[in-house]
């Protein structure tokens, strides 16, 4: 039984004063992003803010318990690949326009490399990515393009 409670405990541990122990009455509790982002699992993730935003209902990174559970279930390795791909797409789609466009790519790249690359290099890489993955030549990646590319990736297991 103890394991069932584990995730809830994790959630509650983030802010014991905010989250009641008894959840049967479904209090409307939200944890702010600052708390979510400070979890050890996310703390060092360059995309933590995006992850929190994508999974939170309000898009601001504030999470209810349900959002929290959502996040964990998608990030768990039991989640199906397509679901993962879908959420990965969401995460990389910084401006929420349902396409990964150049600016999204640049943001991703800069987060990944901590701005270590020069502008030229960033531009080049982004062009290359679009060139590689964009199957319909509209200059940005749709979910389809993204999935097409990502399911072939050897590392895409998370």
């Amino acid at each position: 039984m103890i394991f069932k409670i584990l995730l809830f405990d994790r959630y509650r541990d983030l802010a014991p004063q905010l989250v009641p122990l008894d959840y049967t009455s479904h209090p409307d509790v939200k944890l702010p992003y600052e708390l979510i982002g400070s979890m050890p699992e996310l703390k060092d993730n360059p995309f933590r803010q995006r992850i929190a935003e994508v999974f939170s209902e309000d898009g601001e990174g504030n999470m209810t318990l349900d959002d929290f559970l959502d996040m964990f279930s998608v990030l768990s390795e039991m989640a199906p690949r397509d679901l993962k791909a879908y959420y990965a797409f969401k995460i990389y789609d910084f401006n929420n326009d349902d396409f990964i466009c150049k600016s999204d790519l640049e943001k991703t790249l800069n987060k990944l490399t901590r701005n270590e690359l020069t502008e030229d290099e960033v531009r080049m890489v982004c062009e290359k990515v679009i060139d590689e993955a964009d199957l319909d030549n509209d200059g940005r990646l749709s979910l389809e393009d993204f999935q097409h590319m990502i399911v072939r990736a050897p590392d895409f297991l998370r």
């Binding site: 394991f3 069932k4 409670i5 584990l6 995730l7 809830f8 994790r10 008894d22 959840y23 049967t24 479904h26 409307d28 050890p40 699992e41 703390k43 060092d44 993730n45 360059p46 995309f47 318990l65 349900d66 959502d70 279930s73 768990s76 390795e77 039991m78 199906p80 397509d82 879908y86 991703t108 990944l112 490399t113 901590r114 270590e116 690359l117 290099e121 080049m124 890489v125 290359k128 990515v129 590689e132 993955a133 199957l135 319909d136 030549n137 509209d138 749709s142 979910l143 389809e144 993204f146 999935q147 097409h148 590319m149 990502i150 399911v151 072939r152 990736a153 590392d155 895409f156 998370r158």
Partner: protein, 954 residues
């Protein structure tokens, strides 16, 4: 490993187990009780009490479990339900009315009611995508409460009803009509299917999904309580085991990775310096593994047996330091020269005794010595070639690889399991490095410039390098010649310079040439990876000169030793004869007892094998010293100076002239390779050398990783090492072959020393093999051996091998060609696919022109023959619905067609660029939803996704 993953899986697993168990135990208890009741009707009263107790307990249980479920709804969502669901399905087929008999009509009715309720609620929820969480939850709770109530009711009923069993049976038959049952079953079945699919493609927000599923869960629970027996438990157990197995497997993988020595260190280096530098360390590790095996062979079969079973030190002359050396035998300077006690120790060839069999085991040490000496080469050869072959295989498979290099790097390189800032830092570094590597590659691909100039410069560079190589070769030759002249002169007449001329010139060349080559290589402007190979090859050629001089000097020494040995041998024999003659004439007897001389005083030969071994050991040691000192001074001291003098210097030391050192890949790799060559050559004459080398490699691993990380800076252009370091392996193979030659030569042609080593007394070293064959093996093996060594047999064998080689080579060429063709095809297919999606037609110019020529009949087969046209036609006109993604069908992407989660997709390639090229929309085409292939019009539009004209329709 970060905890997240583990937590999750443990939750999942436990969920399965716990959940199923809990519900199982419930039903089991019931069943048991029922049975009890039946059996013990007479003692009903007594039982009642205990039953009540039971009931209480159970009630508690049930009160508890919904609460928990309520709290933890989501943590246990899918797996358990799936399991239940699936096994339910299995069981259900069998679960006929018989199982149902036990169930009460009430509960069935109730279940029906509730099932309906739930279904309604569920479908409602499905449809409305608004976020009424509270409501949903309320509903879920309601359901739960109801469920609990029902359970309780059921229980009570059971108690009471167990009294009237007969009635029960009757009522069952009455209340449940078959149709109802079937309907119920179907309903439940349907829901289960829904649950199952939802688990796989939960596009909706999961909250809704879990609520939905929970509702299903309860519906399903009715069934579950009714028709589940042992099979269910077994199934749950199986599922649990399967999951445990997965976890175990992954843990094992982790464990295996953790078992790879220095993996962390190498990854560390790789993340900061790129795969090229890491490739050196990987090579070093590989070398370490190889040498461990060599060490095992050498020590296990030669050194340890001699130590354990051979005669102890001081027993015979070859194991004793001679009298005149004993005074200085323990001096530091003597020991560092590997004279004194070291020389007469287990480390060297001379120490081993030539007794045929030693110890209780009758271990044939001389034979073992020879076989190990040869076996080391055999094993190394095998391993190197096998590694090369494997690497070649690995390198060849990357058919798909080139397609998405950057995309994969971009989207999949972050490891979401990282939960430690230091690891994260490394990961950042490694991602940056790998991006830089790929960028360099890409830049090289894109570069196109004056090819003639480039060619000219490359030829020029090669000429220059050939000149300098030739020059240094001549210089070496000249110096060696001179040194031979000097060697014949009196040592006292020579100046220091003349004595050490060879060493001086060699080290000077080693110092000057590599940077010179590097400078010249600038002209060529190769990709750094290729440049590294050239550099390696050139320095290798230079080092060969080094090797040549060394071997040359060595053979001179050996020849001199052999000469003096002959003299000493003759003198000894003469002395012995004299002694015998004197003794017999003095005592007047022919029975001469052996001379009683202390082993230290015996006259002994120079033992050229030990001398050779000593040379190799000395060389190895000095190499270690030089390498380590270079790192200490050239890298560490430089780094310290640059770092700290920078505060008070007139220019920027870090960015300006001295700067920090770069890791010299080529130098280090070649150093390693040549060192290994020394080991191979020297191991036969100095078995201890293998152990020494292990120490060197081990310390070098730690020392160099440290030095790299703290004193060096990454190369300016970090480049990716080629997937296989077969180039290193190739060089190693060459060196192996080169070092094989002298050793085999000495074994086969030179006669071993008469008074030291395992082969003393033999004419040739390989005679021990002959001896063994003659004496210890049955005669026919000797015969076989004789036949096998017959030239008449060897020649055909060689011929056969050559033929096999030729055949295999041809086959592999064929495969290679096929491989290339396939790759090309794949590339074409990809291009094609891309073009098909490309509405700008830019890539399809030829096709377009041709069609322009024939405006009415597109005789050219359309590029997208196999694309299913119908949806496009509908969508064409802009009436696209978000639910249908046109063209998804033709993509071969198995993406979920259930797109409602993805926002309406505004992109439709066809509408984006209607393209003047499209044939005018013909009558049948426009508004009407084309009935697929039967569509009559649309013959104009050839390309793109607009329905391609199908010739057979005309």
């Amino acid at each position: 490993m970060p905890p997240k993953r583990k937590n999750n899986i443990s939750i999942n697993i436990e969920d399965v187990g716990m959940d199923v168990d809990a519900s199982d135990s419930g039903s089991e208890v019931e069943a048991r009780r029922r049975a009890k009741n039946r059996r013990a009707k007479p003692q009903r009263k007594a039982k009642r009490v205990s039953d009540n107790d039971d009931e209480d307990e159970e009630e508690e249980d049930e009160d508890e479990s919904p609460r928990k479920r309520g709290r933890k709804k989501k943590a246990k969502p899918r797996d358990s339900e799936d399991d239940e669901e699936e096994d339910n399905r299995n069981v259900k087929r069998k679960s006929s009315k018989a199982s149902r008999k036990k169930a009460k009509d009430e509960s069935d009715e109730e279940s029906e009611d509730e099932g309906e309720k739930k279904k309604k609620g569920a479908s409602k929820k499905e449809k409305e995508e608004n976020k009424e969480k509270g409501k949903g939850k309320g509903k879920g709770k309601q359901g739960k409460d109801a469920g609990a109530e029902k359970d309780k009711k059921k229980k009570n009923r059971k108690l009471s009803s167990s009294i009237e069993e007969e009635e029960e049976e009757k009522s069952e038959g009455e209340s449940l009509s078959e149709g109802e049952m079937a309907a119920l079953k179907e309903e439940v079945e349907e829901k289960k299917k829904l649950i199952a699919t939802l688990r796989n493609k939960p596009w909706r927000m999961k909250r809704r999904l879990t609520l939905l599923k929970e509702a299903q869960d309860f519906v399903e629970k009715f069934e579950g309580a009714l028709g589940k027996g042992k099979g269910r438990k077994l199934f749950a157990f199986k599922v649990m085991m399967a999951k445990k197995l997965i976890k175990l497997k992954r843990d094992f993988e982790n464990f295996k990775t953790a078992c790879i020595p220095w993996e962390g260190k190498i990854k560390d280096v790789e993340s900061h310096f790129g795969s090229s530098v890491a490739s050196y360390f990987i090579f070093l590790r590989w070398m370490y593994g190889l040498n461990m095996v060599l060490l095992g062979l050498m020590f296990g079969l030669v050194v340890v047996p001699e130590v354990l079973m051979g005669l102890p030190y001081g027993s015979i002359p070859r194991k004793t330091v001679p009298r005149e050396e004993q005074a200085t035998a323990m001096d530091y300077s003597t020991l560092t020269d590997f004279e004194g006690y070291f020389k007469y120790s287990i480390l060297f060839y001379g120490y081993y005794n030539n007794e045929r069999q030693i110890g209780l085991l009758k271990f044939r040490l001389p034979l073992s010595y020879l076989l190990v000496g040869v076996g080391i080469f055999g094993y190394s050869l095998m391993v190197v070639i096998r590694t090369m072959a494997r690497n070649a295989n690995e390198g060849g498979d990357g058919g798909d690889e080139g397609d998405f290099t950057f995309s994969w790097k971009m989207f999949t390189s972050w490891d979401y399991l990282i939960g430690n800032p230091e690891t994260a830092d490394n990961k950042y570094a490694s991602i940056t490095t790998s991006f830089k590597e790929s960028i360099v590659d890409e830049q090289m691909n894109q570069k196109d410039e004056n090819i003639h100039l480039r060619r000219f410069l490359r030829v020029l560079a090669n000429v220059l390098i050939l000149c300098s190589l030739g020059g240094s070769g001549y210089l070496i030759y000249y110096v060696v010649k001179r040194s031979q002249v000097f060697a014949n002169m009196n040592k006292d007449d020579l100046t220091w310079m003349e004595k050490n001329e060879v060493e001086f010139v060699m080290s000077l060349l080693g110092l000057v040439c590599p940077p010179l080559f590097e400078a010249i290589a600038e002209l060529e402007d190769y990709h750094p990876r290729i440049a590294l190979k050239w550099q390696l090859g050139r320095i290798f050629a230079l080092f060969l000169g080094n090797l040549y001089t060394f071997l040359f000097a060595l053979f001179d020494e050996v020849n001199a030793k052999l000469e003096s040995e002959k003299d000493i041998k003759n003198a000894t024999i003469l002395a012995l004869n004299e002694y015998a003659a004197n003794y017999s004439s003095y005592y007047n007897t022919t029975n001469v007892p052996p001379q009683n001389v202390h082993p230290a005083d015996v006259i002994r030969g120079p033992c050229w094998e030990t001398a050779v071994g000593k040379e190799f050991v000395k060389l190895t040691v000095s190499d270690i010293q030089v390498t380590y000192l270079t790192i200490l001074v050239g890298d560490f001291l430089r780094a310290v100076i640059v770092r700290f003098l920078n505060y008070c210097w007139c220019w920027d030391l870090e960015a300006g002239f001295p700067s920090y050192g770069e890791f010299d890949i080529s130098g280090n790799v070649l150093g390693l390779i040549f060192n290994q060559g020394m080991i191979w050559m020297g191991a036969f004459y100095a078995p201890g050398l293998v152990g020494l080398n292990i120490l060197r490699l081990l310390s070098s691993m730690y020392y160099q990783t440290w030095a790299v990380m703290c004193t060096n800076v990454p190369h300016e252009r970090v480049f990716k090492a080629s997937g296989s370091n077969n180039f290193y392996m190739g060089l190693l193979l060459l060196v192996l072959f080169l070092s094989l030659l002298p050793v085999v030569y000495t074994i086969m042609t030179l006669s071993p020393s008469f008074d030291c080593g395992p082969f003393s007394g033999q004419e040739k070293m390989y005679d021990v093999v002959m001896e063994t064959i003659d004496q210890d093996l049955p005669a026919f093996i000797g015969n076989i051996f004789v036949y096998a060594t017959n030239p008449g047999l060897i020649m055909p064998a060689v011929l056969l091998m050559v033929l096999a080689l030729y055949y295999l080579n041809a086959v592999s060429k064929g495969y290679q060609q096929a491989n290339i063709d396939l790759k090309k095809k794949m590339q074409m297919a990809r291009e094609e696919e891309k073009n098909r999606r490309n509405n700008k037609d830019s890539t399809n110019q030829v096709m377009k022109d041709l069609e322009d020529l024939l405006p009415n009949k597109s005789l050219i087969p359309p590029p997208a023959e196999e694309e299913p046209p119908p949806p496009d036609v509908v969508v064409d006109k802009g009436s696209r619905s978000p639910k249908v993604k046109p063209g998804a069908a033709g993509k071969g992407v198995h993406l979920q067609r259930d797109v409602s989660l993805a926002a309406p997709n505004p992109r439709d390639p066809v509408t984006r660029d209607p393209g003047p090229r499209r044939g005018p929309p013909e009558n049948a085409r426009g508004p009407q939803p084309g009935p697929g292939r039967g569509r009559g019009g649309g013959r104009g539009g050839g390309r793109g996704r607009g329905g391609p004209p199908r010739q057979y329709e005309y």
